[in-house]
Each structure stands twice: as C-alpha cells, then as structure tokens.
Symmetry: C2
Subunit: 193 residues, 2 copies
Amino acid sequence: MARPRNFDEDKVLDAAMQTFWRHCYEATTTRMLEDATGVGIRGLFNAFGSKEHLFQKVLQRYCAMISAQLDEVFAKPGVAAIDMVFAAFAQPEPPEALAHAGCLMVNTIQDLDRADDAIRNEVAAYRALWHGHFAAALAADGIADAEARAEFLVGALWGALNQIKLARDKRAAVPMTDVVRQTVAGWARAEEL
Amino acid sequence: MARPRNFDEDKVLDAAMQTFWRHCYEATTTRMLEDATGVGIRGLFNAFGSKEHLFQKVLQRYCAMISAQLDEVFAKPGVAAIDMVFAAFAQPEPPEALAHAGCLMVNTIQDLDRADDAIRNEVAAYRALWHGHFAAALAADGIADAEARAEFLVGALWGALNQIKLARDKRAAVPMTDVVRQTVAGWARAEEL
DNA sequence: TCCGTTATGCATCGTGTGATGCAAAACAAC
DNA sequence: GTTGTTTTGCATCACACGATGCATAACGGA
C-alpha cells in the first residue's frame, strides 16, 4: 500500500553493529553509519528513530547473537563448557572480532553514565546471561559457592576482554595469553579444594 | 618581569583530574574544565596548549600519585602487600574515588584507539608499574612463575575496576565484593600449590 | 614612571555533530 | 490512471565542541 524499503533491516543492524563495535557508541557518527550500512541518513532515522534507539536495537541483536552461541557451548552444562569459553581467549590468536574490539557490551560499560535506562538494562541482562550460564555450569558439576564463583569468572573474563585493547597495542604488549591462562589456572586450582 | 599567573598549576591539574576521571577524556568539555578549575579557557590553553596535552599532564600526575601509594604499600615486598591492595577493593564500601569512577588509567584504555602516542605510552607505563610491583612481591616470597601470575593479578584487578561502574548501577547490581573476594580466593589457592 | 612581557576576559571562529524539512519517487489498492 | 501512503535524497538546521584573536590588565625591571 506504500513504498517499500529497499534495505534489509537485519543487514543494516549487522553493519551498524560492526561500526559501534569498533568505535564505541559516542565515536560512531551518523555519517559513518551511512557509509557502513549503505543507507542514507534519512532512511536510518526513519527506520530507527534516533542514533540511540538504533544502538539499542544493535545491542539487542548482539545479545541474541551471543546468547545463541552460549546456548551451544552450554548445551551440556558443566565445567568443561566453561573451559571451552576460556580456551577461546587463551589462544595465541584469538578470534578476529574479539581481538579487534573485545566485546561490544563490555565496551559499553564504560559509557554507562551517559547511557539511558534501556541501554543499562541491556547491559545488565547481558551480564545476567553470562552469569547464569556460568553458575548453572558450576552447579551442574556440584561445585560449591557457584553463584559467587560465577561472579569471579565473569569478572575475570570481562576484565581480560577489556584489556585486549592493551594487548593489541604494541607498546603495551600485554601477554594476553598469560592473563587468561593464569585466570584459568587460578580458577581450576580453586576448584580442586 | 611579566604578569604572574593567578592560579596554582597543581591545583588546576587536580581539579582537571577529577573531571577527566568522572567523565572520561572525550566527554569532558573545555567548559567543564573551566568550571572545575576556576580558570578561564584562555588561561588553560595558555598554560597547557591543548585539551589533549592537559590530559597528558593529568595522566602523568595520576601515575605519580598512584606510584607513591604503591611504593608505600610495597615498601616491604611480599604477598602480604598484594593482599592489602586487593583488600582495599573487597571492602563493602570501597574508597570513594574508586567506587565513583574506577581507575582513570583503566578507563582510558577504552579510548586508546583515538589517543595519541603520548597517552598510549602513559597507560603502558602505568600497567608496567603495577606489574612490576606485583611480580617483585611474588618473587620476593619465592613464588614460581611470578611474571605470569602478576599478569593475572593485574588483569583481575583491572577487570574488577572496570566493572565497578556496573556495581554502582542499581539495575545491574553486580556484587563487587564477591568478584574481588573470589579473585583473591582463586589467587590464594593457586598459590598454595 | 615608563617599558617589555605575560596573563586574562570576552567574543567568536570553523568544524562536526545529531537530527529535520521538504519535495520527488516508488509502490499498492482501486 | 488516480489516489494514498511511505520512503528516499538532498540541503540544511541548531548546537556544542575545541580553539583562537584581540584588546586590556597586571606585574618586574630600568
């Protein structure tokens, strides 16, 4: 009954996600979004209302994406699944996306003061997602104090993610592998007691 | 021989530090710096050249400040000193400055892509400072693999610092004490082996 | 007291930002 | 083809940012 859109909303969200991921929310300009998505600024605002609302949609999509991956890894809950997660980061050459910009949600924590409630909720839900999987995995193997230990593991993992930016920097040259490997070692040994 | 300044440079740096600390570099505007320091924008630019150079000076001052504190804590190097550091974060009510905005340097990591080399160097030096103290403390107590374990400890501590922003958020409600306490527990137990 | 030099206050610049106004275009329904 | 509705492209808005120009003020040295 009216003129249809000539772009796929999901494709646009994916392209916008890459841009927000690499440059953070504030540093991403509407012109960059135009270039990345191939959609004119008028189309973006018409479809999503505002830059902030677009970002919110991107976060939801990101959360769903990671959630699906976690569902796979934790299909059989247990410590082994947690090890798989950490192992992915302990590789000398971590996945491209991770190595480049860490985690979109973890990056967003930094700007929480300037974010509105919708974004705060999204980040909180994302952390609850991770914590839930970790705690369930620990509990499934009968490990005591599962909730608190899950807090530690999420904290350590997110901390490592945050410092990926340092590892990428030649001058800082933080040996990422060591950080994660020692985290796993510390966690594994803690579990033996 | 010429008109003297009517402000103390160190006082200005302290005031600017508080502002950068709370709002990050990019979100801090020159108008905010005027308000915080009580010095007109012309005075600031005349004294420091640019916003970025002022920030660099602030980082140097911050690094010196923390360095002095670490020298105190690590006056007698050893695991006990490391415990003291972590204990400061495990308090139900951590120090005001920490609870409010974490660590200025850790926050700056997020913006490293947009920072120039001088700032990158400052952050790298700051991490080397922490790592050096931690590694020396571990080595002093004859703990094996001191370098790698120091990486872990710095990573865990900085990760916790980054998530203080989440803990402050009522909706996220991350129990910060648990995160740090479990980190310490993991580390302590790892040390027993 | 005059001079040379630096600092200050105020207005303002150029630029980049997120967001809009508006007319033309593209479709579906009839 | 006509109408009604939505999208698109382009120009542009209002605003905040970092930074600057310039006249004036405040000092030390002679």
